[in-house]
Structure formats: C-alpha cells, structure tokens
Symmetry: C2
Subunit: 225 residues, 2 copies
C-alpha cells in the first residue's frame, strides 16, 4: 500500500497556510492543495480540525492542525534543509519571532487589513471598514522598522541562518503584498531580504496564486520589484 | 561574578505569565516576581520587550519574551523534569494544544472574560460589557467538552506524560477559576486532571496570588475543591 499523498486544506491568502506551503516547498515535500471554504454550508472542516480552521495538513495518513506545530514537526522529521538553528538560544529567537508575526503582527496588521480588504469580500460578510485598514497600515510601519533594525545586524531575521522565522514573516508580508499594502520603499534591507526569500523555488506556487475577484498587485510576482 | 538572578516581569492574572511561572516552578528555577503595570505612565516595558507586553523573563543575563518560546527554551536547557515528549509526533501534539489554548481558547474565552471582569477594573478603562462575558462563558463549555474527550483516552492532555500542554491549559483555566468562571461540575475527568496538576508544588505560588480589589473565589486555592 502506498503512503497517502500529502494534502493541504488551505486558503490562498491565509498567512498560516502560506507558512506551511513555504516550509513544505523548502523541504521538497509534494503537496496537493485543496481550497477549504470553511464558512460555507456543507464544509467538513470540523471533522478535519476541531478548531474549525485552516491550515489542515493530511500527512503520513494523519490530519494535522496549527501552523507552528506543523512546521516544527516537518523540520524535525525532514531535516534537510534545517530551518531551526542548533542552539537552544537561537531556537528561542526563532520561536519568539514566529510568535511576533503569528500573534502580534497578525492582530495589529494582517488580520485587520486582510479582513477588511479580502475576507469580507470572499466570505460576503459586508463592506470594508476603512478605520480598520488605516489602523493596520499605520501599525505596519513600526513593524517594518523593527524588522529593518533586526536585519541591520543579521543576514536573516533570527540570525545568520534561514529559519522558520523568515518563512513566517514572509507568509504574512506576502499576503499583504498581494493587495499592495507593503511599502517596500520604507527599508532597503527589508526589501533585499524579501527579494531574496521571494526568489526561492518554494515561493513559486505562492506567487502564482490568483484569488477570483481580487487581482494581485502588478509587482506581486515580480522577483526584481 | 554571580549569574544574575532570574526575574519575571509579570501580571498575576495573565495566563501567559502563569505558564512561565508554572514551568519555572516545575524546573525548580527560583524566580523573583516583579509586577509590570505596562499601561501606566513611566513603565519601562518597551525597553524590556519591543512587543510591549508581559511576560518578560530576565534569565542568564538576557531578557526573553513570548511565553511559548520561553518555556520551550527552559525545557531544552533544564531537562529535568522533561515537559516535552521524545517523539516528533508527540511534540507536535503538545504544540498543537499549546496553540489551542494560547490562541483559540484565549480569543474565545480567556480574553473576553478576563478583559471585562479583571483588566478593565485593574487598568481603569471602563465598565464590563456583559455580552462579552456571556460569549466567553458560552464558548468555554465546548472547550471543556473537548478537553474532557481528550482526557477520556489519555492520562494528560497531550498523551500519557505531563507536558507543556498541561501547564498551558492550567494557566488559562486557573485565571478563570480565580474569578470563579470554570464550572468544574461539567466534567469529572477534567476536574480530576485539574485537581492533580493544582496539587503540584509549582502551583503553590499561583494559588497564593491576591489581586487587590479582586478577591479569589473561595474554592480557588483549595486542593480538594
């Protein structure tokens, strides 16, 4: 009997789904993508994930949820290339930055901006609230300055090695970049960092995403933006 | 020169701070607790943590933030007792449940209930909104049923070993229990699990917490509740 293929139940513009896709790509694990419109009648998401949300990864015959738990598992079980450093202190820094993006950056930037500009349209739940968008676009400035300050002294976000922190950050920023909400002129080091990670093979499928009714920004898939 | 003592900048009823306190206690790391009222003028939180929030741990001469990153670091550097299992699949399950509590349970239960009942009073930011409290107390029922279903087949939440998942869950539930918002009659297995973890020495300091103006529920510190 063959091992069942790896399948990801996802949404194209969810940063948590993108994080898993990028890590799967980096580890060269082939994946079948299935769009999971969990808010629609007849969705079977609750059967796949009691938390009722994406991403859900079917992998090695199991259903797995929670993006950070999934990517740490992938890194532990598919060691090449390693996306976690070797010392406990460096791993702490990777996890701190993953939490920074998945929790703080998401609450202050990704969620308000994407909810108003994308999810309300996709899920048909109303019109965008411009105050929320404004608040997110104000907050992203401080975040970009903080990332730039990290990159002044480091090659990658958590140190001198490419890690899960870079893919977590790139997952969030690439969703916002799809709708043209990242002002790359704000920081040269941050733009260079994003250009480098964006040109990796794992990014190709993410750059090919097309969400019906929401065309990507013209520069979105351009590697030399 | 002595290694600087370990110090935790915290708030008594923050589940993220409690999670770090419980793991420090379990690892027998002595800690000095410093209340961090980060919303007050003159707070130096931004200097200690660019994310502007608690917990912040001063440990081995460094300032560390983000509770999950901290406890994973503590578990990796102070191996006894181990609070993570040995296989990648079991570790995945621990991390999935930590995310369940720190993200989903917090958004649906801890944050709305504690914001309205505790933080608005402590931070003097207004009167409680009873709809938020009601929504949190409705949501906790499904969460308790889910936890109970896990505990039907396992000794501890993530398997047959005490892990970070148990301390994460207990950190959230103990904050809600302080204000009497956990209906332990709902599930015998969940009550037994909480009675067992509550009787561990690491829990003592947490059970001794007293927040001015917000007295704990009468049963809060009782081991046989």
């Amino acid at each position: 009997m063959n091992t069942p293929a790896t399948r990801l139940y996802h949404l194209a513009l969810s940063p948590y789904c993108r994080k898993v896709r990028l890590v799967l790509g980096e580890k060269k694990i082939e994946v079948e993508l299935v769009e999971e419109r969990f808010w629609e009648a007849g969705s079977e998401i609750a059967r796949r994930n009691p938390a009722g949300r994406v991403p859900v990864l079917r992998h090695e015959g199991r259903l797995m949820a929670e993006s950070q738990a999934i990517v740490e598992y992938l890194d532990e079980t598919v060691p090449n290339p390693p996306l976690m450093p070797t010392t406990a202190l460096e791993r702490y820094e990777v996890r701190r930055l993953c939490a920074w993006f998945d929790d703080k950056f998401n609450a202050e930037v990704t969620r308000p901006v994407m909810t108003e500009r994308v999810w309300k349209k996709v899920m048909k739940t109303g019109y965008p609230d411009s105050r929320e968008i404004k608040s997110g676009l104000k907050a992203i400035k401080d975040h970009m300055d903080y990332l730039a300050s990290l990159l002044e002294g480091r090659k990658w976000l958590a140190g001198n090695q490419l890690t899960l922190a870079d893919f977590t950050a790139a997952a969030h920023l690439s969703c916002l970049d799809y709708i043209s909400d990242v002002d790359w002129d704000r920081s040269g080091v941050l733009r260079d960092w994003y250009a480098t990670i964006k040109s990796r093979p794992c990014f190709r499928a993410v750059l090919a995403d097309q969400v019906p009714g929401i065309p990507p920004a013209p520069h979105y898939a351009v590697l030399d933006f």
